[in-house]
């Protein structure tokens, strides 16, 4: 009876944990893939893996584990896409590019609350900037993009980012620095 009770509690807290992570995970995956269905599939796979393999671990470890699983799934997706592009050539590339354009259209950026009280002119400028920022983030190479998002959005430090992406701290610093340089370059006109 106590076992059943414990399982129900665990399932409940795991459900709450996933509910707290799913939107962010989806947007991280969407930024990487540019495709809504692929992003949803990646998040679903990551959820299944976490629940099946790690639900008995301490809840405090679920966050880093989920981030790492998600990153692995994104990496696997990218490898499959690279293979598809290599084997099926331009047609497949066009499809992917179309998906990316669709995703960008589907997820037009809404201004954060911080801009709620700005004038229409400023608001339009900020809107253009946010769209440009999103496009610039999408254009980053996958590793640079994910390192930058993990550090900037998830607030992970170098070590945590390295653990999530299964790479060295040195690689994280390099990717982050290159991402920053590219973003600055692409957004220079808004400076």
């Amino acid at each position: 009876m106590r076992n059943v009770q414990a399982q129900v509690t665990l399932a409940g807290s795991m459900d709450e944990f996933l509910a707290s992570q799913e939107r962010r995970a989806f947007n991280m995956a969407l930024m990487a893939t540019g495709n809504r269905d692929d992003a949803l599939e990646i998040v679903q796979d990551a959820m299944f893996k976490l629940v099946q393999k790690y639900s008995n671990k301490e809840p405090a470890s679920w966050g880093p584990l989920f981030t790492r699983i998600l990153q692995n799934r994104i990496k696997n997706w990218y490898r499959r896409q690279s293979l598809t592009r290599r084997w099926f050539g331009r047609g497949a590339t066009e499809n992917v590019e179309q998906n990316e354009r669709d995703a960008a259209a589907e997820t037009s950026v809404e201004l954060p609350d911080a801009f709620a009280h700005s004038t229409p002119a400023t608001e339009a400028q900020q809107q253009r900037f946010m769209n440009a920022l999103e496009a610039a983030l999408r254009d980053l190479p996958l590793r640079q993009q994910q390192v930058f998002l993990l550090r900037a959005v998830q607030g992970l430090d170098v070590g945590e980012t390295a653990a999530a992406m299964s790479c060295s701290a040195g690689s994280v610093k390099t990717h982050y620095s290159r991402a920053l340089q590219k973003l600055k370059l692409q957004l220079a006109e808004y400076s």
Partner: protein
Amino acid sequence: MSVDRTPDAPDRLEEGSIEQRLVRDTAALIQSKDDALDGATLSRLHQARSAAIENKRAIDWHWKPLTGAVAAAALVTLVLQTNLDLDEQSDQEILPNLVDAGTQDTDDLELLTSAIDLELLEDLDFYLWLESSDEVEA
């Protein structure tokens, strides 16, 4: 990203400022996308989450009886193996007696197959006495 450009400010400070603003704006961008997810996407995320939890429960309930059966089978095997070991040990304890018995049987066989008259062996004491008394008389 409205960066304040002050010509006299050191480049490094400006670089740090740009980085901070980029980080802040990126966080705001992703947060706004989190908040603005459409109903269909949220529904599919909810379904994925529920499926993951239910799948785990189903696997647990399917594995539990199997785990019990495997444990029971392992226990039975252990008990049987232990009994077999004990039987083998008992056999080894009995074996020396059997060997002794075999030796005795062999001795008996030699007696039976020897050319010496069995009557002589049975009355060996008498014949020894007779021989000694003959020597005395002689």
